[in-house]
Subunit: 271 residues, 2 copies
């Protein structure tokens, strides 16, 4: 069986962008897990993207897979894109190259010019003179990143429809482990997403698949979560890296937890 | 600071080879850790390689870095290549795409035609009409892989000098944790390597750096172990993935151990 994969960053301008990326002091190590290295993107870099998604920062699954939005948030947003008829013609970048460490670490750097300067090079490459038809920002920091790019002279010629939606792991972040609160926040998020979907759908005139718009209910249902496509991960990546099972966790406490990621093959894939 | 990286498998024939690779039943899961996915190579795929190294199989570091020979064996062979003046003009492939599981698992598949057929496609791509000046096989299984390729009609026009040397983790595999035995086996291995070095050096007429041949002593000394070059790993890989510290381990026992790899950032890289 053929296994398509993401060819990565061999072509310009991405080759140069992935060779020259900001580290400390642009990303201070007390607020970012720079020790795990930057994670750059997911999706099409060949000019075929119709939708650009701006996320926040990579977590443990993304750090191992070396592509963004592959964990729970990734499955939710993959389903969101599928509702728009977008199965492969997307590209995703994050607000931050590195995983945010500590409460509020991201907010303190939302307006850092050096962080924005590098991110704006990616947005220039993905938006100026391309066929992207819509931009989606996941959460407040991604919205701030978008507004920062819109304030640059280079963006002046780009008039692409934009929607700021609730971040896909908002229910976990804000609701924690309280099931009733989690359910209420999920419903609130999906209502927010439902408001954005028709606007985005109208903007996207070249979907991969034309399908009727099915809005969300008050919770995620079967079909609302979609696996990461095989062609989004590096060559040889095992299939469970694209699946819904949790396969990477930070273990221990304190500094040990920060230093450790444990990768576990889900039982369904073991002999 | 620029961070060169391995652009990977975007160009043919490697793109097709990394899209269509053997899985079970060619690689039976009772003898190979196929659940972690294949790991294909390390080094130059752009035709600039002067030395081809054939290794055995990927272990835990290689599984996470998605490149072969990056752990202890990799540091030893990187030092071996440096003695030959080869700092970047090499390419490495393994006998097996997947990590061998269990005692003797590899030996049972040393002569499997389907495993050889795919591996031979890589050897064809790396050796026929290229500028490779020497081939080094690490260990018995790699030697068998080489002989299998030499028996193919396609190899007939290739007359490249070849050396079969002791596998770089032979002392650990055969000596275990007995320090005296480990030291004796290391000395034995380095004597074997010393016999191969002058022959290889004579064969390599285009080294990256001309330097006097410094043979090994009876143990590894300072300078005999060399870090994996930055340009060998995927974009964004953190620097400790190329270093000598042990950063990946299989934890637990039995099936849990097989399913788990724990990645730990070495203390020197933590804040």
């Amino acid at each position: 069986m053929p296994h398509p994969f993401d060819p990565g960053y061999g072509a310009e301008p991405f080759r140069t962008l992935c060779t020259n990326y900001p580290e400390a002091p642009t990303y201070p190590q007390n607020h970012f897990r720079t020790e795990w290295g930057p994670v750059f993107h997911r999706g099409r870099l060949d000019g075929s993207a119709r939708v650009l998604v701006i996320g926040q920062d990579p977590a443990q699954h993304e750090t191992i897979a070396r592509r963004i939005l592959v964990g729970e948030a990734g499955h939710r947003i993959q389903g969101f894109l599928a509702k728009l008829g977008i199965d492969r013609s997307y590209v995703m970048v994050n607000t931050f190259l590195y995983s945010v460490y500590g409460q509020g670490g991201g907010n303190q750097h939302a307006h850092d010019p050096a962080i924005a300067a590098y991110r704006n090079q990616w947005l220039d490459a993905l938006l100026i003179g391309t066929q992207v038809e819509a931009v989606v920002a996941l959460g407040t920091l991604a919205n701030t990143a978008w507004q920062a790019w819109k304030a640059t002279p280079a963006s002046a010629g780009v008039n692409v429809p934009f929607q700021h939606v609730t971040h896909p792991t908002f229910p976990e972040g804000a609701g924690g482990s309280n099931p009733a609160k989690h359910a209420a926040l999920t419903a609130q998020m999906l209502q927010n997403w439902n408001a954005a979907l028709p606007i985005l759908r109208q903007a996207i005139t070249h979907p991969d698949t034309a399908r009727p718009l099915a809005l969300y209910g008050s919770a995620f249902h079967a079909g609302d979560l979609v696996d990461v496509p095989e062609e989004d991960l590096p060559a040889g990546s095992p299939p469970w890296m694209r699946g819904a099972a949790n396969w990477a966790s930070r273990t221990g406490t304190g500094q040990k937890k920060r230093a450790t990621i444990t990768v576990t093959v889900p039982p369904a894939f073991m002999p």
